[in-house]
């Protein structure tokens, strides 16, 4: 009986340990292969949604225009400037440097947004 228990405990420990090491190794491998974090801003009804987003440095933000009127996304400090986006067109920009990036639609300047990069 004790031998069975011992074996069971041994196997369990071995299994846990093995699982532990595998998951540990797996985590490490997964982080190395992790895809860049994507963040999306929808443009609709003459507004950016969400109007303010916070992302990590290295994030690629994609604006997609779901409105039935063209819009743009242009940063006030000139770090990025989309082409004119008609309905369903996209623009992406990768934020490598931390900071607060205010932007607006150059066609309808009342539309404003902000990307905070940490």
């Amino acid at each position: 009986m004790s031998r069975i228990v011992f074996t069971a405990v041994f196997l369990a420990a071995f299994g846990l340990g093995f699982a532990g090491s595998r998951s540990g190794g797996g985590n490490f491998a997964a982080r190395a292969q992790e895809k860049p974090v994507l963040s999306e801003v929808k443009i609709d009804n003459f507004s950016f949604g969400p109007a303010e987003i916070t992302v990590r440095a290295g994030t690629t933000v994609t604006w997609i225009n779901r409105d039935d009127i063209p819009h743009t996304a242009v940063s006030t400090d000139k770090s990025f400037k989309s082409k004119v986006l008609d309905t369903d067109e996209k623009f992406s920009f990768t934020f490598s440097k931390p900071g607060a990036y205010e932007y607006f639609c150059s066609i309808h300047p009342k539309m404003t947004g902000k990307v905070v990069v940490q």
Binding site: N45, D68, I69, P70, T76, E102, I107, K110
Partner: protein, 320 residues
């Protein structure tokens, strides 16, 4: 309030010569057949049956304003902006007094594409008035800071395309308030253009009727939607000495009118699609109406010197 005089005057909106509230709606929507007549800064309206039963006498000013043709737009609100622009041309050609020339107050194209400008040029060739004076809308300045628009329509103009000219003793000023727009801001004229304008009107006699045309309204229609111009009060300041000033705008895709002292502001309907009245929708985007109603919410504006009077009649008519 309503007094019938021998010349068919319906409303004297300025009984004592001053419109105290400074606000007037001659008509809420195009096509109601009311004429707004501006005479020395005083607005009066006449019933349609009385007015213009004949034609304006030869030698008197007559022109048409169209706006916001948005060539290239093809969404639900109007899948056929070519067709409705053609209907506007038909309407112009059917006017009792052939207009001498036309004003286009901008958003000629939807995406500033050369083929869009080409198509509008082609269609407008079918209109009786051969001279067309343009000012750009924000949709016309999308490429290369508006190079496409400027090369096509603004030869002989200054800066971003502003200019002035005279017709039958009336001084026309075409302004551009859709360039260098700032985040969170409204339309803007800018220092260079304002300085030019101040100089342009400096030596004119105060009895000269002034006609200003620009895309975005030069009065504060609804700032939340960007319907206004930040530095327009400066421009209007240069016009204080004149007895009669008319401002013709587009951009808001509906007719609206306001009188402030000697200035009458008027916006035209679009030939492409309507937009909601201020604050009645989440955004100022294209407003969908049932197909059979579309032409009734699009339109042209006809401006005529009233026969025998020193007055200008501003008349909106729909495409229906």
């Amino acid at each position: 309030m309503t007094a019938k005089t021998k010349d068919g005057l319906l409303h004297d909106h300025n009984k004592d010569g001053v419109d105290r509230r400074g606000f007037l709606k001659c008509m809420a929507w195009a096509g109601t057949g009311v004429f707004c007549v501006m005479q020395g800064g005083v607005l009066k309206s006449y019933s349609m049956s009385h007015m213009l039963s004949g034609k304006a006498a030869p030698g008197e000013l007559s022109f048409v304003q169209i706006s916001d043709s948005h060539m290239g737009f093809n969404k639900t609100a109007n899948p056929d902006v070519v067709g409705t622009l053609r209907a506007a041309v038909d309407k112009i050609n059917a006017l009792p007094t052939p207009p001498e020339f036309m004003l286009h107050t901008g958003d000629i194209s939807h995406l500033s594409k050369p083929e869009e400008f080409d198509t509008v040029d082609q269609i407008l060739k079918g209109a009786t008035p051969k001279d067309i004076f343009y000012v750009p809308g924000e949709h016309d300045m999308l490429n290369d800071d508006g190079k496409g628009y400027l090369e096509r329509y603004a030869k002989g103009s200054k800066g971003a395309g502003w200019y002035s000219f005279d017709k039958k003793g009336v001084h026309f000023i075409g302004l551009v308030n859709v360039q260098n727009l700032k985040a969170g801001g409204l339309g803007t004229l800018g220092r260079e253009q304002l300085e030019w304008m101040e100089d342009d009107v400096k030596h004119l006699k105060s009895s000269t009727p002034i006609m200003v045309f620009a895309h975005i309204p030069l009065w504060s229609v609804y700032p939340e939607w960007g319907w206004g111009t930040e530095d327009s009060s400066q421009a209007l300041g240069y016009l204080k000495k004149f007895g009669s000033v008319t401002v013709l705008n587009g951009h808001i895709h509906q007719t609206m009118q306001k009188v402030e002292g000697n200035v009458t502001f008027h916006t035209a309907a679009s030939t492409a699609f309507p937009q909601p009245q201020p604050g009645t929708a989440p955004s100022p985007g294209p407003m969908k109406v049932p197909g059979e109603q579309l032409k009734s919410v699009l339109g042209i504006t006809n401006v005529n010197q009233v026969h025998g009077q020193h007055a200008l009649a501003v008349v909106d008519s729909s495409l229906a």
